[in-house]
């Protein structure tokens, strides 16, 4: 069992999550996608020092995680490889922007520190929302929704194949590392000298495999449509969810909830 295997099982785990049932799972995929886009756009629109305004935005995804029965911690565990990248985005801000804003005891909080925290939080919130969308919808239903929203066929096929390609590539890496370690006992990882041929092989093999998979989709009648994903028309509850979601975003964006709450106590 190597690390790629773990990654693979986690990827398959996404499909398991998507197969659960809850009020959130049952919503129309297109509506969920739209709600996620609105949420992410709202998060992005906060000013770069507006940490206090951004904070309440945490509530909406956390509530949805609760409703869909998917633990928030799972998102962080699954995305532990991506998380450092997201957090690294703002890491230089404290050094660039040293203008002091306020003092807490001995420590001076600079504008850079504040904007770093805001950026990090933005990244985490976007991750939370995208993970929830994937975990409650599944790639096929998502693609079907995109098609229904008239996103061009090639773009959707590209998305789908990329997603499947990740799984194919992970599997190839897993198979190849196993084969390598079986014949190189006592070695940890892959010897540097072998990297070139290993990567080249990986690329060739995974491309071949991806081609074969696409072929086998074609011979079974795939022509860019997702009939099998079982789409249904948008219903009242979907629209209600969309309206609620948009209203929540607008509320937190334009009503300084944290400040009002804070002023109640001070």
């Amino acid at each position: 069992m190597n690390r790629m295997d773990t990654a693979l099982r986690e990827l398959a785990g996404m499909d398991d999550l998507a197969a659960l049932s809850s009020g959130i799972h049952d919503l129309h995929p297109g509506v969920k996608l739209l709600a996620a886009i609105i949420y992410i756009a709202t998060v992005a629109s906060f000013g770069k020092y507006d940490l206090s305004g951004l904070l309440p935005m945490v509530l909406w995804p956390v509530l949805l995680y609760q409703l869909s029965g998917i633990p928030v911690s799972l998102c962080f565990r699954r995305l532990r490889f991506v998380l450092p990248l997201v957090l690294a985005v703002g890491i230089w801000n404290p050094f660039m922007d040293r203008q002091p804003l306020l003092r807490i005891g001995m420590m001076t909080v600079t504008a850079g520190m504040l904007s770093m925290c805001t950026l990090m939080l933005k990244g985490v919130l976007c991750l939370l929302a995208s993970f929830l969308l994937m975990a409650t919808t599944g790639i096929d239903r998502l693609c079907a929704a995109l098609r229904a929203m008239h996103v061009p066929e090639y773009a959707v096929t590209l998305l789908l194949l990329t997603y499947r390609y990740i799984a194919v590539m992970l599997r190839e890496v897993s198979v190849m590392t196993d084969a390598y370690s079986l014949r190189a006992p006592g070695e940890k990882g892959i010897r540097f000298r072998a990297w070139g041929s290993f990567l080249g092989q990986l690329l060739l093999r995974s491309m071949d495999r991806a081609q074969a998979l696409y072929d086998s989709m074609l011979v079974r009648g795939y022509r860019g449509e997702f009939y099998y994903a079982g789409t249904r028309p948008v219903q009242g509850r979907d629209l209600l969810f969309l309206a609620l979601s948009a209203a929540a975003c607008m509320f937190f964006r334009f009503v300084p909830a944290a400040q009002i709450l804070g002023s109640l106590f001070i």
Binding site: A12, R209, L218, V219, R220, Y228
Partner: protein, 241 residues
């Protein structure tokens, strides 16, 4: 139903894989395609599905020439079990994989479900229905891959090594299914006993050319012919000197 007329093809320039191959398969016939490793059996199947262009000759499938204009129509009539089930299954679960083909061809969900259950029942693998494709064993995957194609109920069935990696019980199941299935069938295998039991006619490929084509009874009893092409008599004829 299927016709190859002087077909040649190559994956790489100057290394022909098929050379001047001609044969035809009538409607309702079950034909075994045999030959040693690398003889070009899988290539014949790829050509039929238009997954590979042929450099020379003419291929007809289901009465239509295999070219860009007719591909969709042809593929709708052909079901293929690929040699490597790994490359055939791409949906998360067996059930979703089985649903893929029928839904693409416009069946209703109910009809598709009916076919899926029938196919699983035929092969007695109902327990695999909701399993994850990459969490089942090699042989289970092969059975699932066959079920996937059975659910499509194609007019022409191509099977590349359908019994490889199967235990004797499952192998027997697959043989029975092939025997009871109506339609035109073309089966490649190194399991010559299985070919004996399922096919009335056998085509022997060697080095990319047809070197024997006749009734299974006749070709598969010919010890000299088989051994000259790195094959052995099927067990049932092994007593023949």
């Amino acid at each position: 139903m299927i016709e190859f007329a002087h077909v040649s093809c190559a994956y790489e320039k100057d290394r022909p894989v098929l050379r001047d191959v001609s044969f035809s398969v009538q409607e309702g016939e079950t034909v075994g395609l045999i030959g040693c490793n690398g003889a070009g059996k899988s290539t014949v199947m790829k050509l039929l599905l238009g997954l590979l262009p042929c450099s020379d000759g003419k291929i007809t499938a289901a009465g239509l020439p295999v070219d860009k204009a007719h591909l969709a129509e042809i593929r709708a009539k052909i079901g293929v079990v690929l040699q490597d089930p790994e490359t055939q299954m791409f949906m998360p679960t067996v059930y979703e994989d089985m649903l893929f083909g029928p839904m693409n061809y416009g069946l209703s969900r109910e009809e598709a479900d009916r076919r899926i259950d029938a196919a699983l029942e035929q092969l007695q693998i109902g327990h695999l229905k909701h399993r994850h494709n990459h969490r089942i064993s090699g042989g289970e995957k092969r059975m699932a891959a066959i079920a996937v194609i059975l659910a499509m109920q194609p007019d022409i069935l191509l099977m590349d090594e359908p019994t490889a990696a199967l235990d004797p019980y499952n192998r027997r199941k697959v043989i029975e299914v092939i025997r009871n299935l109506p339609g035109t069938k073309m089966i490649t295998s190194h399991d010559l006993d299985m070919i004996c039991e399922t096919c009335e006619r056998v085509i022997l490929l060697c080095d990319g050319a047809v070197c024997a084509d006749g009734p299974a009874e006749q070709v598969l009893r010919d010890r000299e012919l088989l051994e000259a092409h790195r094959l052995e008599l099927p067990l049932r004829y092994a007593h023949i000197r």
